[in-house]
């Protein structure tokens, strides 16, 4: 494997012990993946930030790196934490958990991360076409590759910390032209009417991931309105939950989309889409939970408009970032006056809904549905519109 002079020096410890450890890990992973070299990245996004995932030892590890003077060498954002850092009392977080989470936040901050605690870095720090990134968090990776045409693999959470330190990632997979070529044709012509009628964009994404599993699907004849940002985000996040896919070439959306010959073809059927929806069809729910991925300022405004003058008749939780909330302050105030609970820095998947007294949840996100049901919640998956109607009518 080729290493530049600078990379060799870092590896040999000439720039310090912490940097050498990070470089060694990135080089080892590159060797395992049979990458010919490393590629410089223009930003990093770290996942695995919650105290529940890192534990005491993970926090210690980050603190040690920070105390050795290690700094992130590229602009670095971070995924949601285990609770809202300001409204942690409302989320019933104990002192110990609070302190552990704050140690992680402080270590990341002192290494120079922008502690965004958010899963949509493409809104906060949007990359450009062709840029190389080291992003963990599957929905962000899928969005960057498929919608923007930036280049990143689905980097691992811990590995993304080390890549952010060295500012490089293994040059392999979705970083390369060959790795971005479509591997399977997925035809949605037989389900597009159903999705247009029902709004089941998220279930559609889950199905695309489940049938393709790996590689780069070339997605054709999709429903109109799939190109709307909120639908795309739900669609792509769900692809990430049901597969290890990091990019979908979506007709009419992806800048790198072009027709290809000779691919294996999968035609999606309405029955398969219905079985995705049936998988999460809890009859009743304690709360509606929205924000997987985190809601954008536009989505918050839209939601506030829909709820204006109404009070929600069921608990209604919304998850977003501090960044988005600051750009939709009026909407947040309006949502709260309609009885909506708004949480930042965290989400329904890494937070603890049980502590909020919620056992059964309704969501518009198949990704959230997948992870919540794994954690033991009863889940209803339904389009946002339907959930809004159900909540307003009681």
């Amino acid at each position: 494997m080729y290493l530049s002079q600078e990379e060799m020096e870092i590896l040999n410890g000439e720039r310090g012990e912490g940097l050498a450890l990070a470089m060694e890990a990135v080089v080892k992973v590159a060797e395992v993946l049979r990458a010919p070299k490393l590629v410089k990245v223009s930003s990093a996004h770290i996942s695995g930030v919650s105290y529940r995932n890192l534990g005491e030892e993970g926090a210690e590890f980050l603190e040690e790196l920070a105390s050795k003077g290690v700094r992130f060498s590229v602009p670095t954002t971070v995924n949601p934490a285990g609770f809202d850092l300001e409204a942690y009392g409302e989320m019933k977080v104990g002192e110990e958990e609070y302190e552990l989470q704050m140690r992680i936040v402080r270590a990341l901050t002192s290494m120079g991360a922008r502690v965004t605690l958010n899963c949509t870095p493409y809104l906060i720090n949007p990359p450009s076409f062709g840029e190389h990134l080291a992003w963990a968090e599957s929905n962000a990776v899928l969005y960057a590759n498929s919608v923007i045409g930036a280049r990143t693999n689905r980097e691992g959470g811990p590995l993304s910390v080390l890549e952010a330190i060295v500012g490089r990632a293994p040059y392999v997979g979705l970083h390369t032209d060959e790795g971005r070529a479509p591997t399977v044709l997925v035809d949605a012509s037989r389900v597009r009417d159903f999705v247009e009628r029902s709004g089941a964009f998220s279930a559609l994404g889950y199905l695309v991931g489940a049938v393709s599993k790996v590689g780069v699907p070339l997605f054709v004849n999709g429903p109109r309105n799939l190109g709307l940002p909120e639908n795309l985000r739900l669609f792509l996040a769900a692809v990430g939950a049901s597969s290890s896919i990091g990019m979908v070439l979506v007709e009419g959306v992806s800048p790198e989309f072009k027709r290809a010959e000779g691919l294996e073809q999968i035609t999606l059927e309405e029955g398969d889409l219905r079985s995705v929806l049936e998988r999460w069809s809890s009859e009743d729910f304690d709360a509606v939970v929205l924000g997987c991925p985190h809601l954008s300022p536009g989505e918050l405004a839209e939601l506030a408009t829909r709820l204006k003058g109404f009070k929600v008749r069921k608990r209604f939780l919304v998850f977003t970032s501090r960044w988005s909330a600051a750009r939709a302050a009026e909407a947040i105030a309006a949502l709260k006056s309609s009885g909506v609970e708004v949480y930042m820095d965290t989400c329904m998947v890494v937070g603890n809904l049980f502590a909020l007294g919620i056992r059964r949840c309704a969501t518009d996100s198949a990704k959230a549905a997948y992870y919540l049901s794994n954690q033991g919640y009863q889940v209803l998956l339904a389009p946002r519109d339907a959930l809004l109607k159900a909540t307003l009518e009681g």
Partner: protein, 158 residues
């Protein structure tokens, strides 16, 4: 005389000759312990209890086994990438395997072993899975240097 099934006899003959496995060295170090061989991949996040080192994934062939201090042989890691932190957590609590041998390592295990200082080798020759039943429980030493690794079985009675 007790009849020994042919297949068993055959494998015994092989075992009698196999005393070591050579592989690609990924994380340097030396470790010693009883061999535990799993033909199923392992998810460290959610599949292994980070405070005890016990396999807690239901239905896994190692369910209920403690992997602390063993030379753990499995095909590759699976599941969430946060599994790297689980390996680090195990190592810091003294509950990690003394060494890991994979058929083909992937980033989760490589990163975790590097952070936790757990010796790691992959691509072992000959294939240890074919000798699984004879290897399980045998004491072995894994030593990994730059580029290459060696898993040696301890002499019998050792």
């Amino acid at each position: 005389m007790e009849r020994v099934p042919f297949k068993l006899l055959n494998a015994t003959a092989v075992v009698a000759h196999v005393t070591a496995f050579l592989g690609r060295g990924l994380v340097r170090g030396r470790g010693c312990g009883p061999l535990v061989v799993s033909e199923e991949p392992i998810s460290f996040y959610g599949g292994v209890d980070p405070s005890t080192g016990m396999i807690v994934e239901r239905g896994h062939e190692l369910y209920g086994r403690v992997i602390a201090g063993t030379i753990l042989v499995f095909p590759y890691g699976k599941g969430s990438t946060v599994g790297s932190y689980t390996l680090l957590r195990l190592a810091r609590r003294g509950k990690a395997p003394a060494g890991i041998v994979n058929m083909e390592s992937e980033p989760i295990v490589v990163t975790g072993c590097l952070l936790g200082g757990i010796p790691l080798m992959d691509n072992p020759h000959p294939n240890p899975f074919k000798l699984k039943h004879f290897l399980n429980g045998l004491k072995a030493e894994l030593s990994v240097e730059e580029g290459s690794g060696l898993l040696r079985l301890a002499p019998r009675g050792f």
